[in-house]
Amino acid sequence: MGGNIKFLEAMVDFLERNVKTIFSYPGEQILPLYNEIEGSSIKNIMVRDERGAGFMADGYARITNYIGVCLATAGPGATNLTTPIATAYKDNSSVLAITGRCQRKYIGKNYFQEVNMDFLNFYKGYFVDKAEVSYIAKAFADCLFNKKPVQLNIPVDLYKEEAKDINITTYTDIYKDDETPSNNIKEIDVKKPLFLIGQGIFGTLSYKEIVKISKILEKINCPIATTFPARGVINEKLENCIGLVGRRGDLKSLLEADKIINIGSSLSYNTYVESVREKLLSKTENIQLKPKSIKELKEFFENLDVKNSSWIYKNSNKFQPSGDYSNKIYEIIKNIPEDAIIVTDAGKHTVFTCLLKTCVIPRNIISSHSFGTMGFGLPASIGVKFGTIDFNIDREVVLISGDGGFLMNVEELQVVAENNLKILMVVMKNNSLAEFCKIKNPNFNKIADAFEIDNCYIENVDEIGSEIKGYLKKNKPLLVVVETENEPLPKPNI
């Protein structure tokens, strides 16, 4: 192509080809990019705090199994991304954080909002010091293929330089698969084999492919367990599905198995709890598998010979709701579609939701499972909603939050309101911060009024069904404040 293309134009061109939505908050050091995106086909969602942008990108990435992109300026814009990027890192989520920087000559020189940017590189960061599109492609590839957040830090004076590598239009050109999959396993010849599936099984599959995995797994003639984020990869109603194992799930099956074949789990302490960790690790065989297509996954399992097909494990310890809190959570779960995407915050509501929900489809529950980030829920649910819109995922989005967590990013209700996002937002109001103290809560219904969002208040469990039915018929957000008594959690496996 003729003429000189500026890096700014080349970058936005690359983004247009690979991104549909960006979550951002403007600031001085990103203004050129910000303005250019505004004139492009990319949908730019202005959040009300950079924290929100990071969590929205994370929620978007989790539901779509693609990259979620957030954009923040230098200094406090970037530091506000610390918690969301740390959360994405701990939970293996593909978030690309594009951050601003002052002109290169001012770096380290007391320039306004200048700060060392390495704090966002929990996994990796690129400081872009040359106007090469390949930087962006590499960042995309790293982010998507390694399922980790990546920072792309761009000094503001780079935008006007002449772009190089402008022939690069997508990230696949850059990616080289360093890891040779060592899938030597061909047959499993123990009496009691057990498959442990983690979210790594999603690889870089498209959403449409992810929902087809269950049909493959249901044919495996031995028990299949999942980690928390992988729940629903196999429908938990199926006979060979054990469901969740670990801290909040079953443990006996893991102990009883002769061999555990791990596909895609990082075997965190939540899955292999400390007391039995060594025992479980010693009989675990790890399969390196990062499927790029559903065909690859299908072939893997078809080529697997599972002998001794008679072992059936029955999980007999299903939690039953017993108190006010868990009964209300259960009532919510019963009244929403079974394939609804439930986003939770951090706290008691997350545990009860986890124990009571039968997951039938991938990403039935999205939580900050390894970091326990309070404040995650509301912005993540917004990102999930945009993900469903962009990828034509016909599922309801339901946020179940505690009162403390909901308040932490309450300003993002503005994004819900101005985009008329149909999200059912439930606040479990028990007026307490775990075991620490009672808290005085605001009137959540009036907060919703201030943002012009429909809302209702529930004290009795009987009211839940009709409110949800009414919500499902409409096409607008609803805040449901559920007054609830405190209830102790069942003891976890440790």
């Binding site: 202005m46 406090p76 700060v115 403390g404 808290i439």
Partner: protein, 591 residues
């Protein structure tokens, strides 16, 4: 004694009575011990607000402010607040919980490398591995945070350390800690001071540029005496506002990108610039080549790393501002001071040219009018502004206040300078009010900045902290809007904040009194009502979105003050139906 109890004893020994925090699992032993102690814990609704409140406490009082969070997301939520404190040399002690020592590095639940995370944004950090280390570490932390150039210090506290036993008789809190390699220099070199005194005495057109270091040092009295003795005009940085009374005849106001004409011209024309406790950020200097181009520069700073970093120093003096100014004045008394009458005439002329028009009656309200009425109300209530503290947020609200509001006292104008953190103002006001409960604390914020930490309405409501919040409500990210109008061909990209939320309803939902100010003639009345109510109060001031301040373009000369272009906002915000239409029309592209 348990480690957690030792921590509390250490805090109490440092004179700490109030801390700001948000509890969590890794900090459980500490919170359990806190229950039996006399320490007051103010629960914020987000850890970031706890950090900003501790920062506001520190800036208002001069003492260390303490914030507490749990591990993992609690710690990461402190990063913005601690980085803000670091950029502005504010002594904050940040305590973070951590997973048990044997799990550190094993990627446990809610684990993060807090030491690595905080290292670039703190003056120092510690990770305590044994309960026996607690007393000495805390003493060292407070010493480092509050001496030399103050700054935040982070202490990482693994859960088993909090739970562990310590024999407090064997490991008492030391009166003094030996910190090898840490010896801040507080007294200026006598020869340098003599040189500086001589230069000042012989100068014809001297100017003092006073930064935040003057306030931190407590050197306002010395500055006033120096300025009056030699008759040197004084301008300030944003962080230095309040160190010199701005109603003084020698006061020039703030210098820099959003500075006054008098200050910017005086600095450009001076022959000696006496820079005290400032770091010459780009917002102050503009184009370095034309910053004080004819001047010899005396740079007084306690941090030797700042001297000569951005601007050449002809006479560098490392030392605490209070000490150096006292010695400088003593040296000057012995010298014959050259007459500066011609220069002062020029200064007074420049000041006359800088007098802003503030008496507008327009609706929506001009920010100048609001600031004028605010000043009049505050001076009526407290004529010397001795018990008045203003906090600002970041954006146009900050610059309106910095430019127009005349301060009289140090530690009375709290703003996020170096990091420029939106959302800082409101929680910092909470900290300032806790530090100075008898002061009237006004949080000046924008609609964007306020929303970022609006959850703290729950904190002021729960503890009945009577902060007055004034929202400059123009439904616009004004600073970005102004930049877009000036430098991006008036393309207004994603800076309009929409009609909601209703801030009055929002405050009332938290149980905080609120009112809206639409007309100029109701400003004073409603301000008085809010301030004198001695209750938490929010005022939503409907501000003209098209009004902008003159500014020096980034990297430009201080004398090139560009007058604003008045551009009405162009609302361009598609509704969801429009978005759906676009999506329906576009072919869905598979990724």
């Amino acid at each position: 004694m348990k480690g957690a109890e030792a921590i509390i004893k250490a805090l109490e020994a440092e004179g700490v009575k109030i801390i700001f925090g948000y509890p969590g699992g890794a900090m459980l032993p500490f919170y359990d011990a806190l229950y039996d102690s006399d320490l007051v814990h103010i629960l914020t609704r987000h850890e970031q607000a706890a950090a900003h409140a501790a920062d506001g406490f520190a800036r208002a009082s001069g003492e260390a402010g303490v914030c507490v969070s749990t591990s993992g997301p609690g710690a990461t939520n402190l990063v913005t607040g601690i980085a803000t404190a670091y950029a502005d040399s504010s002594p904050v002690i940040a305590l973070t919980g951590q997973v048990p020592t044997k799990l550190i590095g094993n990627d446990a639940f809610q684990e993060i490398d807090a030491l690595g995370l905080f290292m670039p944004i703190t003056k120092h950090n510690f990770q305590i591995k044994k309960p026996e280390e607690i007393p000495e570490t805390f003493r060292a932390a407070f010493e480092i945070a509050t001496t030399g150039r103050p700054g935040p210090v982070h202490i990482d506290l693994p859960k088993d350390v909090q739970d562990g036993e310590i024999d407090i008789e064997k490991y008492p809190i030391p009166a003094k800690v030996d910190l090898p390699g840490y010896k801040p220099k507080t007294v200026g070199h006598p020869l340098q001071i003599k040189k500086a005194a001589k230069l000042i005495a012989e100068s014809e057109r001297p100017v003092i540029l006073a930064g935040g270091g003057v306030i931190i040092s407590g050197a306002s009295e010395e500055l006033l005496r120096l300025a009056e003795f030699v008759k040197i005009p004084v301008c300030t940085t944003l962080m230095g506002k309040g160190c010199f009374p701005e109603d003084h005849p020698l006061a020039l106001g703030m210098v820099g990108m959003h500075g006054t004409k008098a200050a910017n011209y005086a600095v450009t024309e001076c022959d000696v610039l006496i820079a005290i406790g400032c770091r010459f950020s780009d917002r102050v200097t503009g184009d370095i080549r034309y910053f004080a181009p004819e001047a010899k520069i005396i740079h007084i700073d306690i941090d030797p790393a700042e001297i000569g970093k951005n601007v050449r120093a002809d006479i560098p003096i490392v030392g605490d501002a209070k000490n150096v100014l006292r010695d400088l004045l003593a040296a000057l008394i012995a010298l014959e001071i050259k007459d500066k009458e011609t220069w002062l005439e020029r200064i007074y002329e420049l000041k006359k040219l800088s007098i802003p028009m503030m008496d507008f009656d327009d609706k929506p309200i001009k920010p100048q009018r609001f600031v004028k009425d605010l000043m009049e109300v505050l001076n009526e209530i407290d004529s010397k502004l001795k018990n008045t503290i203003i906090t600002t947020d970041v954006g146009q609200n900050q610059m309106w206040m910095a430019h127009f509001f005349k301060t009289k006292m140090p530690r009375s104008f709290l703003a996020s300078g170096g990091l420029g953190t939106m959302g800082f103002g409101f929680p910092a006001a909470i900290g300032a009010k806790v530090a100075k409960p008898y002061a009237n604390v006004i949080s000046i914020t924008g609609d964007g900045g306020f929303l970022m930490n609006s959850q703290e309405l729950a904190t002021i409501s729960e503890y009945d902290i009577p902060v007055v919040i004034c929202i400059f409500d123009n439904r616009t990210l004004g600073m970005v809007y102004q930049w877009q109008n000036l430098y991006y061909g008036q393309r207004q990209s994603e800076v309009h904040l929409g009609e909601s939320p209703d801030f009055v309803k929002l405050a009332e939902s938290y149980g905080v009194k609120a009112d809206r100010i639409i007309s100029p003639d109701e400003i004073k009345e409603k301000l008085k009502e809010a301030i004198l109510s001695n209750e938490p109060y929010l005022l939503d001031i409907v501000i003209d979105p098209a009004e902008a301040l003159p500014m020096v373009p980034p990297g430009g000369r201080l004398t090139n003050i560009v007058q604003p272009i008045r551009v009405e906002p162009k609302i361009k915000k598609p509704q969801f139906d429009e978005i759906k239409k676009i999506r329906d029309m576009a072919a869905v592209k598979e990724f």
